[in-house]
Subunit: 198 residues, 3 copies
């Protein structure tokens, strides 16, 4: 819980010294937080690196496909991504999440939601999705939204909430295209950095 | 405002004792917050239980329908939910919200947004919607996103923000399917638990 | 970082007085935060007023259009907004953002995402979008979701996260329709008020 941050530092030190020392420590912390540039020093309170794998239905890969185009602009169809950088396509997905970059590794959960190609002169998507994690290590969901300028090597989206092990968490996810094969397969590496843990 | 949480507890007690007592109380709180498992003890700062009612357009119920399928995968149409667990359907809705489980109770607001069926081997939806509350008791909006594994009895999504009476609030909503009739009607019970109130 | 709010006030005052004074000041703050109505006094920690411009594709304006209808209810098409207050239309957009109300001013970024017309008896939309700002003054993204009752003069949506200059920010955006021309062009004025800055 973010509000306890300065206090938790004290408590983690298993403070047995008097209240006065604690109070001066607290005041010291409060003063140091006012230094210009301090905001650049945030460290995640929790961090996860995960991969997810998207195989788009193209009319011939029904058995393997994990995503499908479900909306398209006038004149386009649902088995070929639209012209103009796929502007106007909405795809729905249920993609396996793995701990490494191997599509065939045992999945630790599913990435579920949608992406929307929303630009006519480059590849950019708008993302709204959830990581549903279900492994021995993590149980819970993480919710994401944000703009994904696909051609940029590393791009940031918002982690807007979570449930279970990620109850009320917030943070930033750094997304990278780890691999792709034509228009059918892509793999994203997602570095989930929580800055607000509860 | 979350940061005042420990302080507010003090202030609510209409503390008239000396600063020293308050300080030791504050320190006690900070220490107790470090107990393992403490995080499971969060109590909502505000809670609402509401129901909403979704009637999907099926080609024959235009007058009553509160939701419509507006996107579907290749080969599906917009009056019948798609095969493969409706994978790829997007529905837009404007559903009445009631205080109890009766569709005909006076609505206290509308649930507005979309759901996306996003799995091929079970019923799972991705939700993005808003409660627009407009009653003598509540004025404001509550914004939700998250994964909804429909076949699970009780599932959690994120409350990512609010306006009006719910200004800047965050929390968790526990969603349960309270009733359904075929593919046309379902009713959700939503237990909105705010853990960050302002 | 929100948790330091009361402490930062102290530190901003470049406090050189003794810890005791600070402590009583802190206690005073905590007590004053309990006054009824205090919550209405929040001031934004950062504020931006921006305009964005949406030109919907209507079959004839392909060169200028910044948005396209990509989903529609049964019986509607993708070049004319649907009947019944456009209920069921989903539009994808990539709109220029300007500092003033002139479509031809130099853009400072793009508004990217979608809107969903979700009501049958009035104009209401559900918004999910991102401001991607890229100017000398601001670099970063701001993520929004919420209900937009278009016919209401001023309506509030949630700012659920941000990246770059807006790292982890949250707030409220007040949206106003600044101008519109038929069904093809509209301009929104967005007053972004951050109440949680990092």
């Amino acid at each position: 819980m973010p509000c306890f941050f300065p206090l938790e530092i004290i408590s983690r030190k298993k403070m047995r010294t008097s209240g006065f020392v604690a109070i001066f420590f607290l005041i010291f912390l409060s003063v140091s937080s006012a230094y210009p540039g301090w905001k650049k020093q945030y460290n995640p309170c929790k961090q996860l690196v995960l991969y997810f794998h998207d195989i788009i239905y193209n009319g011939q890969n029904a058995a393997n496909a994990t995503a499908a185009i479900v909306a398209a602009p006038e004149g386009a169809n649902l088995t070929i991504l639209a012209g103009q950088f796929h502007f106007g396509n909405i795809a729905v997905f249920d993609d396996p999440i793995t701990l490494d970059n191997n599509l065939h590794s045992p999945p630790v959960g599913r990435a579920q939601g949608m992406y929307i190609y929303d630009t006519k002169n480059t590849f950019t998507a708008w993302l709204g999705f959830t990581f549903v994690l279900n492994s021995t290590k993590h149980q819970g969901t993480i919710n994401f939204i944000g703009a994904d300028p696909i051609m940029v090597k590393s791009r940031d989206i918002s982690v807007v909430g979570g449930t279970g092990d990620f109850f009320m968490h917030r943070g930033i996810a750094t997304v990278m295209t780890d691999s792709f094969e034509g228009d059918v397969y892509f793999r994203l590496r997602v570095d989930v950095k929580f800055y607000e843990c509860w």
